[in-house]
Symmetry: C2
Subunit: 404 residues, 2 copies
């Protein structure tokens, strides 16, 4: 599959993070001729935090990770992820597969199984051939290196069209704290939905509850603000690990939280940029709502509207559909107070098309690859920004295919 | 545009309804070479009830109709509808257009403007050239006939691929009460969203509040249970008129309410059958939910999921996406208790694919033009049925076009 036209030029240079090593292997879970398992090993004392899909039918792996997050972080830890099979809706077998994988990793690394975090992404409802994964654990442990994070990013891809990485360094007390993250996103997962997996590593020293608080807060401003098609995976997982190896305490440090935000936002945007069939990257900016909740309702209503997204695909400055999406959102709105902008172009105000509106100018703007749609509701100070992509023939091609 | 493959064989024979006459005209609001205005005249004493879009940005026409519904039904009444321009988001001009049309009709018919109900459907945000409509009012009044309901159905089409009609006759005290309805639906409305307009006429004798109660109740079981793409128009309107001309009182008569339900459901299904790009008509049946509200959440989550709808378009028995849609709905669900059927085929149960599941059999079923997806949540007695269509390249073609 061709690389998304919205992809970054290259995978970024990610720094090594003290206390974390990586390896990948080709276990043949489903794909041939590529790696499909990655193992990250975390030094003793690493804090591990996570946020997960709220789906009522979430996978066995997600349930297992959630049950382990509060555990005592004194031992070493590991994260093992496979692509090709999501182990979701696989009944009791799925629980057994998670357990077998955790035991194999724990035995090899001489750590507690309660400190092994798993994820699986790929086809739903097919029994995970976990023996193919467990048989690779020795090799994965033997090949560990702090420099192999890009390999790890590649091993967890399904039909993502590019690997996703982001990094930040923040100075605390004159010393550098490093953050490096990888993600896989909404490329087709033959044949199923677009699971998003995110792994973020830092050498900061921070307690598990404090790390959890940062990622939960920043998640609401990053990954929870993106949408490709409004569908929610049964496996979505974000896991952050702080090794403490830098010796630098970042508790309550705003610059660190901001840097985490930056890395998470970068990865979230890359997920949208690799949205199935995406040709446009769209920022939806809502201001002037009665409150932030209403602003988010309006922003998500616009970002998820198939009529808005197809208009964007067609480079059609169809602001009537924005009016429609505002109206259906359930948020307080007043036709005569709202204004709509495409980029800097004022499109509508005072309950009608702006007197200065030029279809020609607006249509020219819609040809850009990156678009901003701004709506001010004129009611209050509530605001929200979300990111999405267009809805194209490519999306239908990818998702209406038979499973193969 | 080709007629939808899901269209009925022909427009049904609709009976004349005593006390209602129709005419249509070619006013050239936007389209050339076709009729685009219909006027229905209702005899003295007709009860008029309605349900409308809940959009916060609803059109001037909708706001005007809502303000008039409670008015004293002693005089005659009229319904006038144009296609080609929705008069939505046209600021104060829009209110002026509604007023001008109502006044013209009221003057010509010598009735109160408060008894004239309008609707407009078509492009959003363009000023309605209402003079083209008002100049046709004399002609529309002169041409009134009780037999022209099919003409009326055709005049309100935008890019619907077929006109929509339905009828029922119910015996009350040994005498026939007639119901006839027309609708326009979710064909593309160049270039905007799919407004749904429905007009139902009966010669029954019933008070306005009682008629309102019937259509509000039945609306929740019919038009509120269909979805093409989850987008809500700013103009959706359903107006029902009871002329009382049969002299038969249907107050509290269950058979009459059932017959109204039948007509409304028939029209609602026809709207789905003319869904933009639709090639499959899909019934989603949810049972065993904690309550009816949860059942509806699950049913709508499945019916609105782009991943489910593209799988159906691809004739892919992708039950994993049903699991996903159940999970994301927000309703209570338990992986191990839910079961999924495609038609009569048990696909999944006990948290996994059914042991008897055959991909071949399920794939053969998906080739049908009419499909039923059933989910039993195994939790309680809540149930809900909704209807939808698939998501195809046709939808993208229609909606990603430039406005023309």
């Amino acid at each position: 599959m061709a690389v998304s036209p919205l992809a970054p030029e290259r995978f970024p240079e990610l720094p090594e993070i003290d206390g974390v090593t990586f390896a990948s292997a080709a276990a043949g879970v489903r794909y041939a001729g590529r790696t499909d398992v990655m193992l990250a090993c975390l030094t003793v004392g690493s804090a591990v935090a996570g946020v997960f899909t709220r789906s009522a039918t979430r996978s066995a792996n997600v349930l297992d990770c959630q049950s382990k997050l509060g555990s005592d972080p004194t031992g070493a830890a590991a994260i093992i992820v496979n692509s090709g099979n999501s182990n979701a809706f696989t009944g009791k077998h799925g629980d057994g597969s998670v357990s077998a994988i955790c035991t194999a990793v724990a035995d090899e690394l001489k750590i507690e199984p309660s400190r092994v975090f798993t994820a699986s992404t790929g086809v739903i409802g097919e029994r995970l051939p976990h023996e193919r994964i467990t048989s690779k654990v020795s090799e994965l442990v033997a090949n560990q290196s702090p420099s192999k994070i890009e390999e790890a990013a590649r091993a967890i891809m399904t039909t993502d069209t590019f690997p996703k990485g982001a990094t930040a360094t923040v100075m605390v007390d004159g010393k550098p704290v490093k953050i490096a993250g990888i993600a896989k996103g909404s490329g087709m997962i033959a044949p199923d939905m677009a699971t998003m997996l995110v792994y973020i590593f830092t050498d900061a020293n921070i307690s598990q509850p404090d790390l959890q608080k940062i990622i939960s807060t920043q998640n609401d401003r990053t990954f929870n603000c993106i949408t490709v098609d409004s569908d929610t995976s049964t496996s979505d997982s974000l896991v952050a690990a702080a090794t403490g190896a830098s010796g630098i305490d970042v508790t309550g440090n705003d610059a660190f939280a901001d840097a985490m935000h930056g890395v998470m936002l970068d990865l979230a945007h890359q997920v949208v940029r690799d949205g199935e069939g995406a040709t446009k990257f769209v920022t939806v900016d809502v201001t002037g709502a009665a409150d932030d909740t209403d602003a988010r309702k309006v922003a998500m209503s616009i970002a998820n509207s198939p009529l808005v997204k197809t208009a964007i695909a067609g480079e059609d400055a169809n602001w009537g559909r924005i009016v429609m999406a505002v109206g259906k959102s359930g948020a307080a709105a007043d036709r005569d107070l709202l204004s709509i902008r495409f980029g800097d172009i004022l499109v509508a105000e005072n309950g009608w098309r702006s007197p200065d509106y030029s279809e020609e100018v607006a249509s020219a703007y819609m040809k850009n690859q990156e678009l901003t749609i701004s709506v001010d509701l004129g009611l209050g100070s509530g605001k929200s920004t979300v990111w999405t992509c267009d809805l194209t023939h490519g999306y239908i091609d990818i998702n209406a295919d038979y499973r193969s």
